[in-house]
């Protein structure tokens, strides 16, 4: 019998080992996969954009001699006390409950040292974060856990959360393992139950109601506080326009790379749009209304470096927010805990079962043994360092483009490496003047 070569094993591009593993997991457990973080799929992103830098037609600024300012005002439309930040990189909303108390403290310490703001989350305001945050944004969420007028008044700004990028149209989720006595008390829920926050606000529906709700919040706080409206990256043009119509001082648009403490993997990976696709639409809405730079735009979702910051600002944002990157700066997913990650069936840089509350780094947990590992002073210093590096990186790029302020960056400073990114970001494909869908080009 002739020994013919056999066909080598060939994996399906549709039924990959990872897909098959998920089918088997679902069949064995009867529950969808829940995890933390944002989308893990490959998406058009800031990496697909490049800056052109200066040339004969534009001259650069000296890197260490000529000033490139970084400050930003937020809430100048209506608030009597708008916020002035030294850098345009803010810390996104993350709840006490999802994060440990020391982690919230570290976020406050780091943000304050770097001259920026931090944000509460779905669970109310803790003393750790208020005490250590010079500028604290108070999230006003559908669940209203821990919501009270005293905290509203001692916040520096209010963020009405309509949605978030990881799950536009979905509510929060905090599973029983993380409902400690303190979390249960703050949220007025029995200890140990799975807590699923509402996805809609309980006392308003639609943009007309939102306008009245914002008016109420302004009345209660005597028109002092900037009011942000945060939306997930779903329909950024219309959501931005409606938020402006409803009276927002600041619009926050969160792309699908933005993280969550916990939700269904299918939600994270299949609902929403990448931030690159959201920014130009949100900016266009502001421009069409004559409100660009009058109502400020904060964007978030996958911001990792000063280059990302510079690109977001060049596309027209006033500031960015970081969440996942801030946690990594604190020590989340650090390889030094690899042995423990292995015991949890995962590895450093891939750990995302934050909802289980067993975070070896002590950040996404309510377990005292685990969170006592985390040093909030050191964590705060690390976050400050990271924010400073991002700022220096963004300044480096801005100076190379001849800009004396980060906000002077503009779409004309950018080109795209891919057709997809060119279409989404509205900047030409590198080496051409072609913006797909916008002009004839070549």
């Amino acid at each position: 019998m002739t020994d013919f070569p056999r066909t080598p094993p060939r994996y399906s591009a549709t039924f990959t080992p990872a897909v098959n593993a998920e089918i088997r997991r679902a069949a064995a457990t009867g529950i969808y996969d829940i995890r933390g973080g944002g989308t893990k799929r490959h998406l058009p992103h800031f990496d697909d954009l490049l800056f052109l830098g200066a040339s004969i037609s534009r001259y650069p600024l000296e890197g260490y001699r000529e000033k490139c300012a970084t400050d930003v005002w937020l809430g100048t439309r209506f608030a009597r006390k708008p916020i002035h930040l030294e850098i345009p990189i803010t810390i996104a909303g993350m709840s006490f409950g999802a994060l440990s108390g020391p982690a919230k403290e570290a976020l406050g310490r780091g943000a304050t040292a770097a001259g920026t703001s931090t944000t509460t989350g779905d669970g109310g305001m803790t003393e750790e974060e208020r005490g250590h945050s010079k500028t604290l944004v108070y999230q006003y969420l559908p669940s209203r856990y821990g919501m009270n007028p005293d905290d509203l008044r001692r916040a520096d700004a209010i963020e009405v959360v309509v949605g978030q990028g990881a799950k536009p149209g979905g509510g929060g989720m905090l599973l029983g393992q993380k409902i400690s006595d303190r979390v249960a008390q703050m949220r007025n829920l029995p200890k140990g139950i799975d807590q699923r926050s509402a996805c809609r606000h309980p006392d308003w529906t639609g943009p007309d109601d939102l306008e009245i709700k914002i008016h109420e919040l302004r009345e209660i706080t005597d028109w002092e506080k900037p009011i942000y409206v945060k939306v997930g990256g779903a329909r950024p043009y219309y959501d931005t326009a409606l938020a402006v119509k409803a009276g927002a001082d600041v619009v926050v648009v969160d792309g699908m790379q933005g993280g969550t403490a916990a939700t269904q993997d299918v939600f994270i990976e299949h609902v929403g749009m990448p931030i690159l696709a959201c920014i130009p639409q949100a900016v266009k809405a502001l421009q069409d209304l004559g409100m660009h730079r009058k109502v400020q735009l904060i964007v978030s979702g996958g911001i990792r470096s000063g280059a990302d910051v510079a690109k977001a600002l060049a596309l027209g944002a006033d500031a960015v927010a970081i969440g996942t990157a801030a946690l990594i700066a604190l020590g989340d997913n650090d390889p030094k805990w690899e042995e423990e990650y292995q015991k949890l069936g995962t590895t450093a840089d891939a750990y995302d079962d934050w909802h289980e509350g067993r975070d070896p780094a002590g950040i996404t947990t309510q377990d005292p043994e685990l969170y006592s590992r985390f040093d909030p002073i050191l964590g705060g210093r690390r976050l400050k360092n990271y924010l400073k590096v991002m700022t220096l990186e963004a300044q480096t790029i801005a100076r190379a483009c001849g800009k004396s302020h980060l906000h002077n960056l503009e779409p004309e400073d950018l080109v795209s490496l891919t057709i997809e990114a060119a279409a989404m970001a509205g900047v030409p494909l590198a080496g051409t003047n072609w913006i797909p869908g916008r002009n004839g080009g070549w």
Binding site: I31, D203, H215, E219
Partner: protein, 229 residues
Amino acid sequence: MQTFDLEREGLRALNSSLHALKGQTNMTAWEVINPRGAHAIAAGVDAPVDITVRGSTGYYCAGMNKQATIRIKGSAGPGVAENMMSGTVIIDGDASQYAGATGRGGLLVIKGNASSRCGISMKGIDIVVHGNIGHMSAFMAQSGNLVVLGDAGEALGDSLYEARIFVRGKVKSLGADCIEKEMRPEHIALLADLLKRGEADGKARPEEFRRYGSARKLYNFNIDNASSY
């Protein structure tokens, strides 16, 4: 008595004056005339004062109230006494949607009917409704007491946590995880007190009510309960 003409002096001036009443004050009696359905009347008050609104109000009257007793001599728009912390709000007429939403304390009395989602996500407030309540009332209600002398609409107490619901009339349907529970002596005593404080003790007796609460079957996710969600 401080009389405030809302039409003439404006909402900002009213709320600003009321917010200035921090701590002890001898200006404890306020009357608001010409409310004309304005929104956010007496929102965010934090003082032990009596405020009487002579007419009907728009959205969020008495929102986030602390300490104050606020009487509405008319009907109230959506979200009356939303997120109330303490104090008392008494409405002579009807209340629109989301009355007492997310309220964390205090007492809300509605002498007429309440529309849908009365007591939605309530977190400790007591609500006494002399008339009927609309659909999806006490949705995701966490704690506190909702007392209804009349009937309740569809899906009462859907996804209820630990709030207690007492209904004297008919319940059109119960929401997911909401069940009827036994009325024990402590509930009769609690209800008697609520009826008295809710100015309804002459209208109904505690024994005429049925009690509803959470079956607690949805507290931790189980795939076999998925069809209940």
